[in-house]
Symmetry: C3
Subunit: 203 residues, 3 copies
Amino acid sequence: MLLNVLELVGVVAFAASGALVAVTKRLDFFGVALIGVFTAIGGGVLRDVLLGITPPTSLNTWRYFTTALVTSVVVFFAHAAVRRLRREILVLDAVGMGLFASSGATIALDVGASSQAAMLIGATTAIGGGVLRDILVNELPLLLHRDLYAIPALVGSTVVVACAAAGLGANTGLLVGTISASVLRLLALWRKWNLPGPRHVDV
Amino acid sequence: MLLNVLELVGVVAFAASGALVAVTKRLDFFGVALIGVFTAIGGGVLRDVLLGITPPTSLNTWRYFTTALVTSVVVFFAHAAVRRLRREILVLDAVGMGLFASSGATIALDVGASSQAAMLIGATTAIGGGVLRDILVNELPLLLHRDLYAIPALVGSTVVVACAAAGLGANTGLLVGTISASVLRLLALWRKWNLPGPRHVDV
Amino acid sequence: MLLNVLELVGVVAFAASGALVAVTKRLDFFGVALIGVFTAIGGGVLRDVLLGITPPTSLNTWRYFTTALVTSVVVFFAHAAVRRLRREILVLDAVGMGLFASSGATIALDVGASSQAAMLIGATTAIGGGVLRDILVNELPLLLHRDLYAIPALVGSTVVVACAAAGLGANTGLLVGTISASVLRLLALWRKWNLPGPRHVDV
């Protein structure tokens, strides 16, 4: 139950971040809706395609899609107000990211993926939507050159795999994984952690 | 039979539009062929991957691929002449778009997808090729900021789902869906309808 | 055995080329690692998704992923030294490309794909990683406008399909396909072969 609520919170945060980028790019109504929806459910669609779960759950059920669409429409009409909530969205986005990484890894283990596949596909679930958003709006994906985002996602999915290997229940893994990933992400935002770039690049 | 002809007409129109973009970008022979083929069959490949139909039909059979390839080669050598047919290509493209949206939704229902998945995957079939084309040539996807294209596609796939829900045969749905989507697209082109962009964007 | 070694050689060459591009774009540590890994295993992931092999082998086993990751980390720290090996990397890359095209086609035939699908999916295995790399770093894919790369890949997968049709064993196809593709690619590099662009483009 709490899980379901948190999942929708994550969808709202992802859709809002995607739709805001689309507004900034001055896309039309459909473009804003599409980018918002893609950002929110793109990671889950990628996860399901990689796991052979077809049609992907987020296309096959109403919940995620509708939540993402409504959020994007709200952002289209009220983007100035939403932009003032940037801080709050970042926090919710961190929670959503942690949850998607952990639930992605859990689902992967459920359908018989190896530990490594569960780690990678879990992280893909969390970062896939943002990468698709950046590809669609023709930007260098943010997580490639700024922001500690993918590492926390990998930590979350790894914690899930470790919990499963330790014989703990799936719910424990989901909980500990989500908290680890989200807290690490929030710490990175708060302390402005960045990964180093390469040294001495002469192009 | 008519359906098969229309499908190939759609493939020709999509391949021609893709190849023309590639020529404008001064890609080489292979680039023009690849972009033309991708634009024509990319939407169908995406549809099949999302539905778990592997290998995708348009890779597994000769018809679509060969038609797309021949069209792209013709455009490579005769792009100036083809460009003069821009208007005619737009009309054929509208027919192809309507048909792909409707046949995509029909196929999705066939393999047991939900109504929502059929609507979304039908529309994806119609717009996927164009989005892949724009991503490959490194442009902001056209449908995100100009042109009423995705809405007619969604209308087509929705009509198919509605016809199925009403107990009408698949052929009726296909016909009514294709006509709705194509006519709406042609009206949008003719009357220069556009979706509004967001207001008051200060970046 | 030799095959396994060659495969890992190909993974190293692909990862190194991807990571070098990422360094040039001044991506951070994670960006370099991600682009290197994507370039190396992206083609195989695409192949498996198109063939319905889920989770994709290169995500499900450690070998490819770990090799790609270690290579990318080495490039991150020693990119200047690696760059001096550009010539050697190009040769290894040609071998990897030929092998991936041939093994991709072999795997496709194994799971019951048609001849055409095997040719196309084999070539996709070889070129997919490089195209994903260029899309992620927001560049026009190299193979669309320079370099004879995709044609040798198609030659390799076609040779595999022809060998299978002629009743030769899978190993023969793999060997002849790899050699044909790699030699053609090396010849193209050595003689600076390029495909012609379209003539008289007035944009």
